[in-house]
């Protein structure tokens, strides 16, 4: 399926959000995820099924003022 991850279009066979994070080699418990503008909690990633053309945001801590 085609996903838009952090603004980049990519193909993946991952069916859930946690599978996608694994496939993209994301690691750590400091990531926040949203799909189509809605927060997906850490605990819900494994059960969150993805659909074709979903927009996925993966954010992490960054310096800021």
């Amino acid at each position: 399926m085609t996903y838009i991850v952090n603004g980049e279009t990519l193909e993946s066979s991952a069916k859930t959000l946690s599978e996608l994070l694994l496939a993209l080699e994301y690691e750590g418990d400091w990531l926040a995820t949203a799909v189509n503008g809605e927060l997906v909690h850490r605990t819900d990633r494994a059960s969150h099924r993805l659909n074709d053309c979903d927009r996925i945001e993966i954010l992490s801590p960054m310096k800021g003022g």
Partner: protein
């Protein structure tokens, strides 16, 4: 002692974490300032979680409280979602709420700010709104559930210092019991002293420290300036007057002619 949303803090200096020459210098500045709250952001992760993880580890090692921000958000929906994602990452209900309305001045969109503050307060967030020095907007923010206000004193990163002291003074008088933190526009320690002398509760700054030739030394200078301003406010200052007043008693003065 400063209390923000029930959290007691010994330092009245809140520090941003951006634009330092290196992570080590940031850490040194935080330590020299004695600051207990640092502001952090959230951005798209491109390194598989490793870049954000390294930064988060640095912050955790500093042992300070994190105030996540919604910097760069230009709409209510963007700010609300970013706040929720920040709560997911940092495990805190604190959020420095920014809804930017103008690209050049980075002035808050105060209408969107009030709306976002109301939504977030309703979802259990403890909102620190980055706002202008407008009194009516401040009233709306308090009505929306904000228990802290963070008016700017000049545009972000401008280093211009307090541009409208009368407005800051009015806000202090109008909200005697709401913690007021000047956020944005401070350029030098004397600016921080001025706002603390007005009775402000704390100062949030970033660029003035991070952009200094020696950030750690500047952080220490700001800490002293903030403490000096606060002590002066608590001590009670003289009001300026037009005419001279002799400081030495006149009674008992020798007469030589």
């Amino acid at each position: 002692m400063l209390t923000l949303y029930g959290q007691e803090l010994g330092s009245r200096m809140l520090l941003g974490t951006a634009r330092y020459p290196s992570p080590a210098i940031l850490a040194d500045a935080v330590r020299q300032a004695g600051t207990e709250v640092v502001t952090v952001s959230l951005r798209r992760e491109t390194a598989g979680g490793r870049s954000g993880g390294a930064f988060f580890e640095l912050i955790r090692e500093l042992g300070v409280r994190v105030l996540p921000n919604t910097a760069g958000c230009h709409s209510v929906s963007e700010a609300v979602l970013t706040a929720k994602m920040a709560r997911e990452v940092f495990g805190t209900n604190w959020i420095k709420l920014e809804v930017i309305g103008n690209h050049n001045t980075l002035q808050p969109d105060v209408f969107g700010l009030v709306e976002a503050a109301r939504i977030l307060a309703g979802e259990g967030f403890e909102v620190f709104p980055y706002t202008t020095d407008d009194l009516v907007v401040a009233e709306r923010l308090v009505e929306a559930g904000c228990k802290v206000l963070m008016p700017w004193c000049a545009p972000i990163g401008s280093a211009m210092g307090p541009q409208n002291i009368a407005a800051l003074r009015t806000m202090r008088a109008h909200f005697p019991d709401v913690p007021l933190i000047v956020d944005a526009g401070i350029g030098r320690p004397s600016h921080a002293t001025i706002v603390m002398e007005l009775g402000y509760d704390a100062v949030l700054l970033n660029t003035a420290v991070a952009g200094a030739g020696n950030p750690a030394l500047m952080a220490a200078a700001f800490a002293k300036a903030i403490d000096a301003g606060r002590a002066a406010f608590e001590a009670g200052m003289l009001e300026p007057r037009d005419m001279a007043v002799p400081s030495t008693p006149v009674i008992g003065k020798a007469v030589f002619s």
